[in-house]
Symmetry: C2
Subunit: 385 residues, 2 copies
């Protein structure tokens, strides 16, 4: 039950359901405080580093700057390895233990790779991480600390077909290893880990008209959608908030699929964006479902808008996010400008990862130097001006 | 009341007391859920980014490797800017608002600078950050994102006297600005923010015989000591755990002061360690008090032991900490070897900051490359061994 991904009869991606509980319970560590809404696993196999329970905070200035009533930010950068992927790694590595897997393999050069390597280390399981040939040395250095076995693979993410082919070969060669690739068409159960974000937004008493989510493979937005549906089905919220799929202009496959400009089996010929975690060529079927069924929309923002939003978020709210996360901030402003949001709307946005994951290096010599008391006084008084 | 630091009569460092409450309350955001144990501030002046409520997790392998019964790690890397300093910035910037300060100034090139800049941004207050002349470009780049005014100061941290002189000049030039330097002899109230760590360790039902804490200025260990004393005075715990001051061999001023080998007004002539956040030359009076009164000890570890402990923590437990945090892991092992801990002891250790703050850069070309299916198969099978 933990590894099948598609229906034997119709070929659709499977999804999970655990019945409807009357209330969200709140005991256990990390995502496991929501155990009854997650795949049923043996207690002893649950792996956690205390992920989740991240802050939900209201903005102090950003909502006025963008023209909406309220903005609530869910700070997933506060997870143990610095991104929302810790939730899925807690679930996936626990499933691997349940299956008595000899190890875990994965393909990613970013947040997912760090999370899966960390949780495998925590579980005492071996981990093979496939990364792209020209992966960022900074990102791989973070992953490497957890001591996975790293293999660079030429053209790993070039096309969806190539990637699927690599993963299925890996599974064939390593039949007793768990394929931890986070993508619903391969691992539909793993998206359930992201339902916990919806529960936590609810528990912190934050209701929203819209939830803005960065979209690559679409698992985060689909997991959130499932989580909000659980809450609605339990009668805890009146309706599922409208889900908004946010992408970068240079890689807007899902946004275009939502608009009907791209078929689900099509791919963009060329993608290019500073938001490396969102640099995918194919649309997400699940993201399209989440957006359409919830009455949301898709929106894309330029690289310039993303980088500006990242600086605004840090300097106006004190939150330093990774580049891909800043897309949601840029998208709220743009959505308001386009009339897709009103000034009465409360918007929730998921800040998916830490700014420490990609730091823009400055030159230390560009900072003014006070060599003596007189110079310091002059610089200080000028600064206080 | 918020700015006086020493007694008018005897010259001792002041400390705060809020009476004894019967129970730890648990409402409000960030550190403010413990409001009644913190300086009394107006509700509207409380600043928070959701700091605190960080995970307390039990190790799976580290305790066996070091020979103690249990190890509990308090993951302060999960704070919004990636370190425990977010707690003190939440308090300090709130005090600055209470005082209607025109801005905040600080001297730090590391975690404190990032935290104070972030919380000032959050509060809409201006921030001047003094950094050392040759500060790490990587660290300053993180700080810079929050748009403080940065000034490099020659010999900023050369001696305690030099630093105190710079800060007192700054206060004279900028009389309406808040001096946010975290060090009890200057700002005794700020250590109270770290009491919240002790409360959280208690609330997660983790009792410990020893608490291992990295020590530079000594505020963290003293705040923890005060927090545990509150808990003991409230009857919530039987006794205050023994506090252990951990330093690097190359900068062991407080450890030597605890042993009586260095007077409190003396300084080490030369310091040198990879743990840059712990590279201070003068002993901490407060750390000595916390250790002696709780029946703990001081211990120092070599740079080699620190770097090895950092890798062990990541590869055996999945926790990637900053270099200075790894000292506590090295110190537990060493404390056990020296007979200062027994195999029946439960040890808590504070992981003060995120490994993303200082990443050891690897060479991407050192990772094996699979150029085709055959090479991937060979590498995968070899990895799975």
């Amino acid at each position: 039950m933990f590894t099948q991904s598609r229906c034997d009869r119709c070929g659709s991606i499977l999804t999970s359901s655990y019945g409807i509980a009357n209330r969200i319970t709140d005991s256990g560590q990390g995502i496991w405080r929501f155990r009854e809404f997650l795949p049923p696993l043996t207690e002893g196999n649950l792996v956690s580093l205390g992920e989740g329970s991240t802050p939900s905070i209201e903005t102090k200035r950003l909502h006025s700057l963008t023209g909406v009533k309220r903005i609530i930010l869910k700070l997933e950068n506060c997870n143990p390895t610095g991104s929302f992927k810790d939730r899925v790694a807690a679930l996936g590595v626990s499933i691997a233990k349940e299956l008595s897997s000899k190890g875990v393999f994965n393909a990613s050069s970013g947040n997912a790779a760090a999370a899966v390597a960390a949780y495998s280390a925590r579980a005492g399981l071996r981990c093979i991480t496939l990364v792209r040939e020209n992966a960022s040395a900074h990102k791989v250095s973070q992953i490497k600390m957890f001591s996975p076995i790293l293999i660079r693979v030429r053209d790993l993410f070039r096309t969806r077909k190539k990637l699927e082919n690599v993963l299925s070969m890996m599974q064939r060669w390593l039949p007793n290893w768990y394929n931890h690739f986070l993508w619903a068409p391969i691992n539909p159960l793993l998206v359930d880990s992201f339902k916990t974000i919806a529960y936590e937004i609810f528990l912190s008493s934050r209701n929203a008209d819209f939830v803005f989510v960065p979209v690559a493979g679409g698992d985060l937005i689909f997991g959130l959608y499932k989580g909000f549906k659980d809450l609605a089905a339990s009668g805890l919220i009146e309706k599922v908030p409208r889900l908004v799929a946010v992408q970068a202009k240079g890689a807007e496959s899902t946004v275009r699929a939502i608009r009907g400009e791209l078929r689900l089996d099509e791919e963009l010929k060329r993608t290019r964006t500073v938001a490396s975690a969102l640099d995918v060529s194919f649309p997400s079927e699940h993201a399209v479902i989440a957006v359409k069924e919830s009455g949301g929309f898709g929106i894309s923002v330029t690289d310039r808008e993303i980088m500006e939003a990242r600086r605004i978020l840090a300097s106006k709210e004190g939150i330093f996010c990774e580049i891909s996360s800043a897309t949601v901030v840029a998208a709220i402003r743009k959505g308001k400008e386009k009339g897709l949001l009103s000034s009465e709307d409360t918007v929730c946005a998921v800040i998916t990862g830490s700014g420490l994951k990609d730091v823009e290096r400055i030159k230390i010599s560009n900072i003014p130097l006070a060599k003596n008391e007189k110079e310091l006084r002059s610089l200080a008084l000028h600064a206080a001006g």
